[in-house]
Symmetry: C2
Subunit: 361 residues, 2 copies
């Protein structure tokens, strides 16, 4: 068994299959971290903010939005005073707002870097949605800005705090599946026209940036290794205008130092329930769905052991509760998040390499 301290922390944090169990904070038991939400899209309004409402150590204390009316309405729901609503132009004024400890960046991908850097300069810790940014250079600038401002930076990779994914990691780290030989993973969906996701400028890429990153990240946390090489194909099947700027499909393979190989796919052209399958010398482990907001289902057949068939009953927004509270704890206890900026940077470097070998840039 070869768990890193970070992994042990995650497993301890996961506690039960029902969800993340927040730690009792030794000092300042009553203290909650105040989050300003930057960007009022679906993930903020339907997942993160309801998650914060159910959390132990987090609360919503500010909103940054381009839509004042919408912001006022949401602010009222969460008890955020009007004075803590900012526009994109004036959000640097958050520096003067003592109720805002951290921000949650949930903007189109190309805006992650700017608002992470501005928030850090305003003295706020940053929980930023994935993908971290649209370029390696932006990721590096974000890490540097948070380091210089002595602020925490976490990339919102939900699965690193999600009990089903954590259980899968645990099974692998304990060696129950034997040496990992091969992994398959994919995640995709049918993208409707007219979204910022289909803009090369705003999204930085197609489904690989958006959901393929789950498979990429999963191969890394399942093996506990960094790929030594990648090869990829990307393509556009539908000539209906949606894919003028970004790819529709990417398939890629990776090789890890142990010799484990991975094959992955992502698409914007078809439903593709996120899954991973891990083939070890002693058995097979299969999660589907593996990356959804809820309904995670893990199955494993391992020689000489009873079969595993676990459906995680926790409902959305349990992953956002865990995310908000984990980052809050990191801020309160001065700990490193499980998925710091460096984690996002590693994926971004691999994404750049996948795009490069697929020949689309």
């Amino acid at each position: 068994m070869n768990l890193t301290r970070r992994e042990l922390g995650r497993l301890a944090a996961a506690g039960t299959m029902l969800g993340y169990a927040p730690r009792a904070i030794a000092s300042g038991e009553e203290r909650k971290i105040g989050y300003a939400v930057i960007g009022l899209g679906v993930i903020s309004m339907e997942h993160f903010m309801p998650g914060v409402k159910m959390s132990q150590h987090s609360r919503i204390t500010g909103i940054v939005s381009g839509h004042r009316d919408k912001a006022e309405r949401i602010a009222a729901q969460y008890g955020v005073p009007s004075g803590s609503i900012y526009s994109y132009e004036d959000c640097d004024r958050m520096a003067d707002n003592k109720d805002i400890d951290a921000v949650y960046v949930a903007l189109p991908n190309n805006m992650h870097a700017e608002y992470t850097i501005r928030s850090a300069k305003a003295g706020k810790h940053v929980l930023c949605e994935k993908p971290m940014a649209t370029s390696v250079a932006d990721c590096e600038a974000m890490i540097a800005a948070c380091r210089n401002a002595d602020r925490k930076l976490m990339i919102a990779y939900r699965c690193h705090l999600e009990p089903t994914n954590l259980h899968a990691m645990q099974i692998l780290r304990e060696g129950k599946l034997g040496k990992i030989q091969a992994i398959e993973s994919s995640f995709g969906f049918h993208a409707a026209p007219g979204q910022w996701r289909l803009s090369r400028t705003m999204a930085g890429g197609g489904p690989l940036m958006d959901v393929g990153i789950y498979s990429l990240n999963a191969c890394r946390y399942l093996t506990g290794e960094e790929p030594v090489s990648v090869e990829a194909y990307s393509s556009v099947v539908d000539k209906d205008g949606r894919f003028a700027e970004v790819e529709e499909n990417v398939s890629w393979t990776m090789e890890f130092p142990s010799g484990a190989v991975a094959s992955c796919s992502t698409t914007y052209g078809a439903p593709m329930m996120g899954f991973f399958k891990v083939h070890g010398a002693m058995g097979e482990m299969y999660a589907e769905p593996a990356f959804n907001y809820d309904g995670m289902h893990l199955r494993a057949e391992i020689y000489g052991q009873p079969p595993i068939d676990e459906l995680n009953p926790a409902r959305d927004p349990y992953q956002f509760v865990a995310e908000a509270d984990h980052f809050a704890e990191c801020v309160l206890e001065n700990r490193e998040p499980v998925t710091p900026g460096e984690e996002g940077l590693r994926d971004m470097k691999l994404i750049a390499e996948i795009y490069r070998t697929s020949g689309i840039r």
Copy 2:
């Protein structure tokens, strides 16, 4: 709907979910094709020969084996006279045996070419196990030998006559799943030491040659297209001596002219139930097991249609019954088999390319 005549024939032949329905042979209704089985391994004795016993147009009329005792015992079970038992050395004498119309070549891969060519020269039609051979040159020599002798050549790709796989092809050809965006497929198993499979000379390669070929072939028959490029990784994880000569793992991606992409894996180091998943614009189709001897299970979720969940109740050796009878019909009616030598050659060329790009040869 864009079915080729060959595919239509396969679909018609498949008939029911229970298995291949042999055609009534117009002339010579009572005529059965006599097969000599070359090689008395598991696939011959436990699958093909029992399948022939249940067939309508086929019977066992000869045996070629290096073990005379074993051959005598099996011959007695199938009513094969002693005079129709041959050794590898004297099997060219089959030329004089009018009861033998065809041979079933079920030898280590590196012997497929020699015994196909010798059988064709002896005037026999050849049903040869997959992989067709261990090199492109051997495949070409086999095709030429059968053409020169005016004999039929079929490669024993079971899935082309298997109702679950045929139903999957039909759904795709009818466009029910919409344009195919991505396919995932894998097939592998844990290879015990001491088998000819682990000899580079005898097997020509590792799991890609043996079972990865099912995934490769499936991506071709599911899309109905030929890949325009492949990229691959192969690796050895277990340094226990089993993989001194052949690879343990291969993962590869392929791109098709339509833009569909595929990602596949195979292994000798882990259990890996054969499956394929097809992602189309209108839905998702999933077969697992997809390539076994029985128990095939097809599921599909297609927008606006009731879900498909079909477990094929047919039991082994139903695929071998279909194989024996289909080839018998081709001989009796002078038709081209669904999987002629050219089909095996195409896979062999792709296997060579996968090995080349994976850097292992």
